[in-house]
Point group: C2
Chain length 297, copies 2
């Protein structure tokens, strides 16, 4: 079983081409929908009284919603703008709302999950919640600059209690105070995690394990419309594939990273979650096969 | 046969860790030495009366020096500084010297070359010199921001007379006025070349051919000391391998790009050409095999 814990949000995304207000968003939304194509995950999250019914229906379609708490208050909201190149994002507004005082509870049924993904939540909360799972075979966490800047020690502690860390290149540099990504990954592994995946956006990712570095290019796209959720879709695809295979062997992990790249590429082709929700397993498999063919030599 | 036309220089390179003055450098030097591990190239270049005998001996060891003209004047000199991350280079001084009025001549013996690499020379000169080869099977050119800024039309014309263009990501963007690298490559291909290789430094490269994009990650290194000549070593390794195989079939071109990545990785591990001149074929093969193993999944 796979459980994902993280934020469900109502997003306003501004790109040079379009502004889309009040979309269904959030790290856990992207990760969970992406994962669902490999294994339907349980989702632990909180939404407010203003959370649209149609968004709840969308979630119900892809995830087990038992872990979604409907709290009194407004749903977590995010508003961000991309620059002309779609590579830089500026936060216009973050309203934590119901996320602020959320005390996540792991439903009884989820406790036996073997695969757990902790999206970019409060690191102390992640460290606490992972202990509530009885039979974890593979756990993974992400983090963002906000937590690195405000709770660096808790971030480091969290990285000691999970099997793997998936993190952006710039955030890995910020966290480890190291420019070279191999050195950064080694530092993160010294804190206790066995495996580090550094996401480099359009440049793909680097997977670190023992002394091995497995570089994986991104699936190249001519038309990117909205990078929101690309990293979360990557992480979701990766852990979803692992859960589906019920394996953490190295060759499977490498395949999982490749599926992560593929899912990230689908996410950025449309606005918001539209690139994911209309996907089918055959389309994913077809792009994976194509990706494998072009990367191999 | 393989011929390389380009600059031989005396370089001063300043990194945060070390300053090395008056090293043997130049785009053609790196490309030719890198290529020599696959096929000994003929080198067309000019040096001055101040060119040290030991540097001439170094070149003689790796290349056919018949095409090297000893002119009256000082050798082309370059002085550059890297920033703390070794990812940005600032030019402190460029002295063209003998390069300024050099009229390259293709030695009779080189005219039958089937593989020709035109390093970042004056694009009009490149366009002229390629016509002096009788049996070209595969030609490749590079260019730099200086030519794009001063002779953009000549650069575009040059890209219509070669089989392939190898170019940095930032220079491809500058040249095509396009941010997306797939769109940039397509634009370059519209100018007449069949194949485009965009170099992305630590992020590897993208190879474009018809509608195919072949992304290739860089060989990850923990200790980079001097990025000078990485791109030239990549191009030299690539065309050297093609010349050795005497093939321009797609699977061979993909392998050539992988060898290019490997040669670039050796170049940056030591200062100046030291990373290349002490190499052996077995070490190259061993790193290639390792690279192939980690990239495949």
């Amino acid at each position: 079983m796979l459980t994902i814990f993280g934020s469900v949000a109502i997003d306003t995304i501004r790109t040079p081409a379009r502004i889309i207000k009040n979309m269904l968003g959030g790290a856990a939304t992207y990760a969970a929908i992406s994962a669902s194509f490999f294994q339907r995950p349980g989702l632990i999250a909180v939404v407010g009284h203003d959370f649209p019914k149609k968004y709840q229906h969308t979630l119900d379609k892809f995830v087990d919603s038992k872990g979604i708490v409907h709290a009194d208050g407004r749903t977590f909201r995010y508003d961000g703008s991309y620059d002309q190149t779609l590579s830089l994002r500026k936060t216009n507004k973050t309203e934590l709302n119901v996320l602020k005082d959320f005390k996540p509870i792991v439903p009884e049924e989820y406790r036996k999950s073997e695969f757990v993904y902790l999206a970019n939540n409060d690191p102390a909360q992640n460290t606490k919640i992972i202990k509530e799972f009885d039979r974890v075979k593979f756990s993974m966490c992400d983090t963002i600059d906000f937590w690195i800047s405000t709770k660096r020690n808790d971030v480091i502690k969290m990285m000691g209690v999970v099997d793997s860390v998936v993190i952006n290149d710039e955030e890995a540099r910020l966290l480890t105070k190291t420019h070279n990504l191999i050195k950064a990954a080694k530092k993160i592994m010294e804190w206790g995690t066995r495996l580090v995946i550094i996401k480099k956006g359009e440049h793909g990712s680097l997977l670190f394990y023992d002394d091995v570095v497995f570089p994986s290019p991104a699936f190249s796209l001519e038309n990117i419309v909205d990078p929101t959720g690309a990293g979360d879709s990557f992480a979701g695809g990766m852990i979803g594939y692992l859960a589906n295979k019920n394996s953490t062997k190295m060759p499977v992990i490498k395949e999982a990273v490749a599926y992560g790249n593929v899912m990230g590429s689908f996410a950025v082709e449309k606005y918001g979650i539209a690139g994911l929700v209309n996907l089918s397993k055959p389309r994913i498999q077809s792009r994976f096969n194509h990706y494998k063919k072009i990367v191999h030599f």
